[in-house]
Symmetry: C4
Subunit: 209 residues, 4 copies
Amino acid sequence: MEISGKPSFKPEMTLNRIQALTDGIFAIAMTLLVLSIDMPEKDLSLSGTPLHKFLLNQLDQFYIYAMSFFLLAVFWIIGHRQSRYFKRTDNKHLWINILILMFVCLVPYSSSLVSDFGDDWMANLFFNTNMFIIALLYWINWIYGTKHKRLIDENLDCSVISISGIKSKVFLMVSMLAIILSLIVPPYAGFSYLLLILFYNLKRIYNKK
Amino acid sequence: MEISGKPSFKPEMTLNRIQALTDGIFAIAMTLLVLSIDMPEKDLSLSGTPLHKFLLNQLDQFYIYAMSFFLLAVFWIIGHRQSRYFKRTDNKHLWINILILMFVCLVPYSSSLVSDFGDDWMANLFFNTNMFIIALLYWINWIYGTKHKRLIDENLDCSVISISGIKSKVFLMVSMLAIILSLIVPPYAGFSYLLLILFYNLKRIYNKK
Amino acid sequence: MEISGKPSFKPEMTLNRIQALTDGIFAIAMTLLVLSIDMPEKDLSLSGTPLHKFLLNQLDQFYIYAMSFFLLAVFWIIGHRQSRYFKRTDNKHLWINILILMFVCLVPYSSSLVSDFGDDWMANLFFNTNMFIIALLYWINWIYGTKHKRLIDENLDCSVISISGIKSKVFLMVSMLAIILSLIVPPYAGFSYLLLILFYNLKRIYNKK
Amino acid sequence: MEISGKPSFKPEMTLNRIQALTDGIFAIAMTLLVLSIDMPEKDLSLSGTPLHKFLLNQLDQFYIYAMSFFLLAVFWIIGHRQSRYFKRTDNKHLWINILILMFVCLVPYSSSLVSDFGDDWMANLFFNTNMFIIALLYWINWIYGTKHKRLIDENLDCSVISISGIKSKVFLMVSMLAIILSLIVPPYAGFSYLLLILFYNLKRIYNKK
């Protein structure tokens, strides 16, 4: 795909910079999540509510914060695990990654939405669809990169390729479940992500045998 | 340009740190774009508007978000492509890059403006002029760096130099078109950036032949 | 723990990216601290308060900013010192670090809370518990990594291991003191962190002998 | 200063991570500057003010933004130039740098203050003192690091040392002038930074000869 006449510049350079942008965006998106936890008004004491009551009432906002942080961390790990195998990059791979980042940057918004409107089906649907799309894009990224060993190490074992794709596939299914639950029991849809912990450890137990 | 007596420090070090600053600023500017999407008020349900109606009304804000993200990504790629060829740096090159970053950091503001006042010619003019200036500065960066092969690899083929400058030149023209459209049909000015996708793929088709 | 058949990818790569994410998150959390200092209203002059009086009244907010920044810097140094010894990583180590980052990202919130409600026991308790948890997690990180020299250099002297763990242990005790003081004399609880400066220099004096 | 028995870890690692934190914080502080430019209210059109009039009235806010960005860029360059010479680090050097970052993170606040209260002596004094302290700390950093060639390359020529310290000394004097002007002609105090451009180019002209 290289134009002849071009001097050889190292392809890792491009991979490194995609990773730098990715790490930067994940770091900021994760930190901005905290803005979705409401700060008490300064005249709180005037309204007669003590601060500890206010914070107790906000327990579910802290839960949303922790869950969103956890999910972004899982995506960061999925992306990192994939990128360890990539030896090359091309234009499509680059744009899949930018699309991923576009939806990662949307997470603080989705998280705010579900933090403020936890009982609303739309807020939950929005949040879970956001997660689903990121999982889908990571899955596409892996399928695209490994097909005909396009962008990965040629010596990579096929069994490794299929095992490594499992994580994003599991996430896909779990977020699909969360989407369905959003429509039936909105405030409990998020619990489906607990399955991630179960499934990811199942895989580890299986590998150890 | 090096003062004699100075110990040799590696010029890549400076290039690396400009890139680190650039990647950091792009990552933050891209993430801050999400703040230009309005959050619904917490007492939304009191006003009788269901959340899904609110979000539907905001579709154009999501579109502005996606477009701004896409344009910043294109600039990031243009900058990255250029920097792969640079072997040296000097004071002027450094300051061109800082000027670029100054206008990149302004994008979340421009994007907010066009997100809130999409029908206003001034908001669109502001946004598109911002894009035009960034494209212009990237073009100046490339002209400056490649003239007499000042900062680039001496063995670089002249045809590569001219091809590599095309991307920012195309962006220049497209954003100029967007500026003109801002004055005539403000809300549709942004569509001119769709031409980028067309032109950039034209180039790829041409290269493949 | 490596699955046979996997091509060797460098473990430092994972360590490097955890560090990149960590540095990014610390940088942002530190910068967001400034948002907890209240800006004067634009119509301040209308209320007859001159700006210098307003800023003087805010002296304790500046103090909270400086203290939070200092504490985050201490954590960053503790984390950096630990990571210098780590040669490997595994899943548990990765998740301990993500948990650390989750509580680091919460610091701008805790800091805002104590900045707005400095006299309230709950605000101080929240802030100091946040600090305590981060210190605890760094201590767990060190215990986990050094046990049976799991993740560190095998040749590392045992005395170095025990000395290097002291910093987080000291922080643990100091933040525990701060938690107790939060319940007795809320506005003065933060002063216990001054002990850190004393203890850390005691250690240096001891090392020099 | 190394404890015997410690395995050799590379001192550049520490320098690299200080630089990563520094680049991250500068990138974020620079990007947050944009938040000090007021967004027009959404019901602006109701008040009869067209958007272009609103933006024209805000010209000085854009000027403050550009000036603050420029000053942070100058500091970033000063810090980068210094760090190129540093081969080692120690605890004091680390803490001088953290102190620098603490005042860099304060710049978006100072900038907001001067952006909202440009005519007030206190706002200008605050902003310019902030700049003065950063310049002072960079100067201390250089003095500390170069004294007895403590942290720098031993072969570094003395003339280079003194020349390299000039940039922060010039900044010190210019910001001192800005502080004095804040007390006499507040809204024009910022213009003293234009002297930086003059002085820094004087130095270049001098070097060329």
